[in-house]
């Protein structure tokens, strides 16, 4: 029996079908960053604790350092580069959580930020925007990612800010 050392995968990344031939042991985080050139996803620990590498796979937040690239063959991945939407004139419309992070000074060095943005965006996009945001929901959305710079206070503020924006946009 021969064992693949490499495999060609097709994965939709930020809405665009991408193909890559990767070693089967390549982590998804490394494949995104180095094979697909999407360096917005960062690697902080490689053992699934810090969450800096969080991306969405079929809409769910996942630690990309704990996945192999071959595991997303045929699936859809969203990274921080795909969080903003394109507007009709080819410009960019930021996701409310991105705007909120800037408005609330929820980032300092920015290294953990993509992981937080993806996790929070997934959380906000899944919930009913009209419902009042609870502290429990905020804790849930920010509680699994590490930040060494901000002390989290402004990150929590940003979640509130983004939820309010999404509620008002209804």
């Amino acid at each position: 029996m021969t064992v693949d050392t490499e495999r060609t995968i097709t994965v939709t990344v930020n809405g665009v079908p991408r193909e890559a031939t990767v070693p089967v042991r390549r982590l998804l985080s490394d494949a995104l960053r180095h094979d697909l050139g999407l360096t917005g996803t960062h690697v902080g620990c490689e053992h699934g604790v810090c969450g800096a590498c969080t991306v969405l796979v079929d809409g769910d937040p996942v630690r990309s350092c704990l996945m192999l690239a071959v595991q997303v063959d045929g699936r859809a991945v969203t990274t921080v580069e795909g969080l903003a939407r394109e507007d009709k004139r080819g410009g960019q419309v930021l996701h409310p959580v991105q705007e909120a992070f800037r408005e609330c000074h929820a980032l300092q060095c920015g290294f953990c930020t993509p992981g937080f943005l993806m996790t929070i965006a997934a959380g906000l996009d899944k919930r009913d925007p009209a419902a009042e945001l609870t502290e429990e929901e905020v804790d849930d959305m920010v509680g699994g990612n590490l930040c060494r710079c901000t002390g989290y206070a402004n990150i929590k503020k940003a979640v509130h800010h983004a939820a309010a924006t999404m509620r008002d946009a209804q």
Binding site: C109, N145, G151, Y152
Partner: protein, 824 residues
Amino acid sequence: MARLRRPCGGSRHGRCAAVTTKLFGEPVRRREDARLIVGKGRYLDDIGHTALAAAFVRSPHAHARIVDIDVEGALDVEGLVAIYTYEDLSGPMAEPLPVLIPHPQLTAPRTGYPLANGEVNHVGEPIVMVVATDRYVAEDAAERIAVTYEELPVVVGVDGAREAKHAVHEEIPDNVAARHHQETGDVEPALAAAPHTLSFTQYIERSACTPMEGKGVHAKWDADDASLRVYTSTQASTSVRAAIAAKLELSLDKVEVIAPDVGGGFGVKIVHPWPEELLVPLAAINLGREVKWTEDRREHFISSAHERQQRQEITVGFDDDGRITALDVHIWHDNGAYTPYGIIVPIVTATQLVGPYVIPVYRVIVESVFTNTVIVTPYRGAGRPQGCYAMERTMDRIADELGLDRALVRERNLITPDQFPYDHHLTFQDGRPVIYDSGDYPGLLDKLRALVGWSEADRLRADAEARGRLLGVGMAMYVEGTGPGPYEGGHVQVLGSGKVLVSTGLTSQGQGHETAFAQIVASELGVPIEDIEVTTGDTRRFGYAVGTFASRAAVMSGNAIALAARGVREKALRIAADVLEAAPEDLEIDAGLIQVKGVPGTSIPLRTVAVLSNPLRYAFDEAAKQATQFATHDDTKPPVAEGDAPGLEHRDYYSPIRSTFASGAHAAIVEIDPATWEIDVVKYAVVHDCGNVVNPMIVEGQVHGGVAQGVGGALYERMAYDADGQLQNASFMDFLMPYASEVPDVDIDHQQTPSPLNPLGIKGAGEAGVIPGTAAIASAIEDAVGRRITSMPISPTELYDLVRNPDSEMTATAARRAGTGAIS
């Protein structure tokens, strides 16, 4: 209390022109965020996709002789490019790494080699560098390299070093690298004469910066030009450049070093040159290829730097009112296996320990000792948290002994506003006297009492008891020397396009320099902030600098940039005055337009003045053509006047007479569950004074971050070395960095006592949040459980053991409370 008002003496130019309040002091949203929130930051590993990758074989032993390095097994790995050991190093590269900050009291300094030279002194020390086509392959090769060791006895922990059963470095049998000693009077007779004395011993354990991004180096050698470009995740690009040039024997002008976006530093990236910062460029030159190394998390734990561990023996003399008459402190400081950063951390502990208090007679001895562990270099606070812990726990003990309120005892010892400048007669880390320039410590204390509800403590304790919980309130005050020299510089240049380029040599790791420095220039020059672009940490743009540490960037570069901007303004007004036929004093600049005050029609854009400032022969575009027409043709004078220069730019420097002293006070309320002994910080209050503030939103963010590290250091973070020098928790799974759930909400109040030492009146703010955390929380826990807390951090298990231990000391306060039936 009267606010301190002083003329700005001490600045090189003697000027203290009022800064317009347009953007200075405003919570301007950050310029750097635009790229960071869409994933377009450029951190070290984002650079150099085609570079070869380096990986290292690192020592698995804490102390060993290297008997043999067998690379045979690695040679067959496909994708392997090169292997380097110490034998491949020559000249300055074969010498030990530099002692960055020598000191006469650092009598036995030691540093490592870029690759181990026959001996390793801590787990993680680099022995072999492997270069391959990618990191996976490099690690495959590294795994196949067989190193044979002869294990040697291991020294771990400050007590292990003191006992000196074994030596880390054979020729230093007592493991003492330095004995730092300062004294302000005769402490023994003063203690003997004191109405009361107390002695106690306490410990603070090792922690580390652990920024989310580790270290990394990318090097590119241009063979045609014989020049080297190095990107490194550093806090000191100019110094790394000098080190690389010296070690690789290159001329300084042939080396550029750039700090890209850096994912946090907190001090660990101030040390340089790391072995990798020399080895990666060496490989790049040697192989004629780009080479890159990015540290992984385990590497960061075992081969970067830690800080904090000290054993402190304190004896204090005081009177019936709790006023200190004498203080004698003997500290043992674990500096790890080597001393590349000298004794800065011990000196900072020794000198910042005195805090906001009058200490009539003070003696401090800090012995810096070797252990077979990772090196110890600054971590946010850089010795101040330990000093604050010593002083503040002493205050708590005095209060406890005398049955006095802990805030009252502190108040009685405070330096008062009329006593500035206050000379402690100590020598600071910058070699200059510890003279506090301004502050209002009673003001801080008053604000803190109000903010935390200090007078409510008894009631809160009773309420908690009714809920079956133990509650305690604690506090700590600190003074922080910030903005040490020698200097920083700023360059401001207005281009013909209207863009304003600003650069300074020190670096950024998330402090918002691109915004804060732009705010200063916008305010000084009267230009829209959108027109301003700030570059930091790039030796191509600014070659003279020191680095980012000791909460100095805003103070140093902020002032230098302000002075540079003022130079530009002066020149712009001079040129415009000539063109507009007005006097410079009658002109103002607003939104990039220079106009005669009150006469809106008479104006000239700043960008046109920029073009005019460079007398041209060739009109290469429309703007230049206009300028040649605008220019006055006075043939009695040369186009560039004597002593003047072409261009609308100015370079200036700020070099302080000494550090400026920020201050603050923190309080914590903790609740403890007597079933699980879990410690919950239910309230955390900060009063903070960093003088004039450039951007209050950024300063508050710095405080939040510092507090999180303070809470982490008090309750969760500890480097757990076993007796064999193995770091047992070298990952985030076991080294407990706080998540959001561990960090309390922080209530902040502000005070501003401007610094009289610099033109902008600012003091540093970067480290403030972390300095008193351990002390304040220890104070609160002790208040809650009534037992002496003598070692921090403390976990629920340790607290449980402490309370259950019949030999643990009950506080006098707890005994009093129990005696009176009051809540304890």
